[in-house]
């Protein structure tokens, strides 16, 4: 009986490891190929007897990719629009969720319903009218110029579009339509509601106003949820493709994801090494962040879906 059970465990363990090996192969091989392929010469890739590892490390693809498309500019644009977009999302999610949970307001439920309805309208559905809105927006007046100076200063340094005649092909145009956040607000609100009111009451007794309570009590207590929101915003903005593709029209304003298509057009699909080097340029920052924070992300999204 015991022997029988052992045999069974061994078989099921063996099956388990075989399954894991298969998964590693299926998921890992394309990623491994992306990495090693970008260090190979083209004859090494376009061969009928390919090897996973290159003969010797070859950096030519990175040089060629960097030269045939302005990746330096793409990096600046991606970093800046991601900072603006993810920064706005996190700040707005925290402040809105805080207001919905802790601040008294007669139409609080109506505001919450507005938020829920917004959850039902995906950004992609409204790309056409949003483009028209931004194209018809002629920035004028001191407030708008001041705001544009804030968002567009990298363009002034890198010789991009300045002054803009509309919001098409500007940083503001890239990040503004996606700056509001419904799902993140919703999830943070759920989290904030689990925070005991004693905590905020104690702060109130100590004479702290709403802003201090939010920044020094609620945000630190809810840090795991806030950090997850921030990481998800960061990856979403960094990887965003459709909207930047539509709203940018010159190389000086393109982001990394849209720059990849530009490289594809310039090199053609046969220059695999160069294309993979370009693809690596796009994913490296996210991979670095993910390596440090992946546990956080994985557990955060799982908790969001299962426990709520």
């Amino acid at each position: 009986m015991i022997l029988n059970l052992n045999a069974r465990t061994i078989v099921s363990k063996a099956l388990g490891y075989a399954g894991m090996a298969l998964l590693v192969l299926l998921i890992g091989l394309p990623i491994a190929w992306l990495i090693t392929g970008s260090f190979k010469t083209n004859p090494e890739i376009l061969t009928i007897t390919p090897k996973l590892l290159p003969e010797r490390i070859h950096f030519g693809n990175f040089v060629e990719a960097w030269q045939s498309a302005p990746f330096g500019r793409y990096y600046i644009n991606s970093i800046w629009t991601t900072l603006l977009g993810a920064g706005a999302e996190v700040i707005l999610a925290v402040t809105t969720a805080y207001a919905l949970v802790f601040v008294r307001f007669p139409f609080r439920n109506a505001v919450f319903v507005l938020l829920l309805v917004a959850l039902m309208v995906p950004e992609q559905v409204v790309i056409v009218p949003n483009y028209l809105t931004l194209a018809a927006w002629h920035p004028s007046g001191p407030i708008q110029s001041a705001l544009l100076t804030l968002t567009e200063w990298p363009a002034r340094i890198t010789g991009g579009v300045w002054p803009p005649r509309s919001l098409v092909n500007t940083y503001a145009g890239i990040f503004l339509p996606g700056a509001s956040i419904a799902l993140g607000t919703f999830l943070l609100r759920q989290y904030f509601r689990t925070i005991p009111l004693d905590l905020t009451d104690a702060a109130r007794v100590d004479g702290a106003g709403h802003f201090r309570t939010m920044l020094s009590i609620i945000v630190p207590v809810a840090m795991p949820a806030v950090a997850t929101t921030a990481l998800l915003s960061f990856t979403a903005k960094w990887n965003e493709y459709l909207w930047p593709l539509i709203i940018t029209s010159t190389d000086s304003m393109r982001t990394l994801t849209t720059g990849i298509s530009r490289l594809q057009d310039a090199e053609g699909n046969a220059q695999f090494g160069v294309l993979m080097a370009g693809a690596l340029f796009v994913v490296i920052p996210v991979v670095i962040v993910f390596l440090f924070a992946q546990r956080f992300v994985v557990e955060g999204i799982a908790a969001g879906a299962v426990k709520g």
Partner: protein, 297 residues
């Protein structure tokens, strides 16, 4: 009395300062464009003069009578159905696998999750190579068996399958991670009780695991459907909706009609309305689920 009233006012003002900017952005870039999109769908809009002419239901008729439309709707349906079925079943299987006490399972879980954070455009580039019929990885794997590789991305018969494979590869890890969390949330007592009642492994899976996972499955079903409607980057980089519309889906059609040579704002708005109506009803389902979760919490 005055003091209380002033305090109330300060609360209201604080609320407006904190929640106002988010709401303002929703009004500007979600509500207003949604209404405008609806209006545009009844117009012949000229982007250069920035003005539209009312033409009633003409755009709807054009889209309805266009032979492409049926094909694109069918493509969207095939893509979404295939993705949902594959992601849910494979996600569940991998989750059950990685929920066992095996070495390296955390590492494998991370590896499985990693494609979900990689840019679709970058992922698409590698897969163009993998599918290459002359040098690609799949060609290399089939060669020893004497099987010729299909012309994945240039053959209308195979292109959709290629897109589905890449998309499933990219999002599978998300479903797995959610399912693992779901498995761990099922109380062990239930399994013990089933064991006492003499249930075998399959019966325990069928009558404890599957029902225990049903809320998670529902959540994944809705999110996978919604996300699949937004699959754009892979299609644009790998096939541009081709060959001969074989991989053209609603979101790509919307992009084509809105922003390429065949641009027609009115018709694009009709496609956007179709997409919106479908996604709206799927999201309604999700909201009912979220509400239920709130009341249970």
């Amino acid at each position: 009395m005055m003091k209380v009233l002033r305090r109330e006012w300060r609360e209201w003002l604080t609320f407006i300062v904190l929640a106002g900017p988010n709401l303002l952005l929703f009004v500007l870039f979600t509500y207003y464009p949604l209404i405008r999109n609806f209006l545009l769908s009844f117009q012949d809009f000229n982007i250069f003069t920035n003005s539209g002419e009312w033409i009633g239901l003409t755009n709807y008729q054009t889209i309805a009578s266009d032979s492409q439309t049926a094909k694109i709707l069918m493509n969207t349906f095939v893509f979404t159905t295939a993705v949902v079925v594959l992601v849910l079943t494979m996600g569940l299987l991998t989750a059950v696998l990685l929920n066992q006490k095996l070495r390296f399972r955390n590492g494998v879980r991370s590896l499985l999750f990693s494609p979900t954070v990689l840019a679709g455009t970058a992922v698409a580039i590698v897969w163009i190579y993998i599918f290459d019929p002359r040098y690609g990885l799949i060609y290399q794997m089939l060669r020893p068996f004497g099987i010729a590789s299909p012309r994945w991305l240039t053959d209308p018969q195979w292109a959709m399958l290629a897109i589905i494979i890449v998309y499933v590869w990219k999002v599978l890890g998300y479903a797995t991670v959610i399912y693992i969390a779901g498995l761990q949330a099922i109380p062990n007592d239930l399994y013990e009780a089933a064991r006492v009642d003499g249930a075998n492994a399959w019966q325990r899976f069928r009558h404890v695991t599957i029902p225990g996972l049903s809320p998670v499955t529902f959540f994944l079903l809705v999110t996978t459907i919604l996300n699949s409607f937004q699959a754009f980057d892979i299609i644009r980089v790998m096939t541009r909706g081709g060959p001969s519309n074989a991989t053209n889906v609603l979101i790509y059609f919307l992009y084509e009609l809105g922003f390429t040579e065949i641009s027609n704002i009115g018709r694009a708005s009709v496609v956007a309305m179709i997409l919106f109506v479908i996604m709206f009803f799927v999201t309604l389902l999700q909201l009912r689920y979220l509400e239920r979760r709130v009341s249970y919490a």
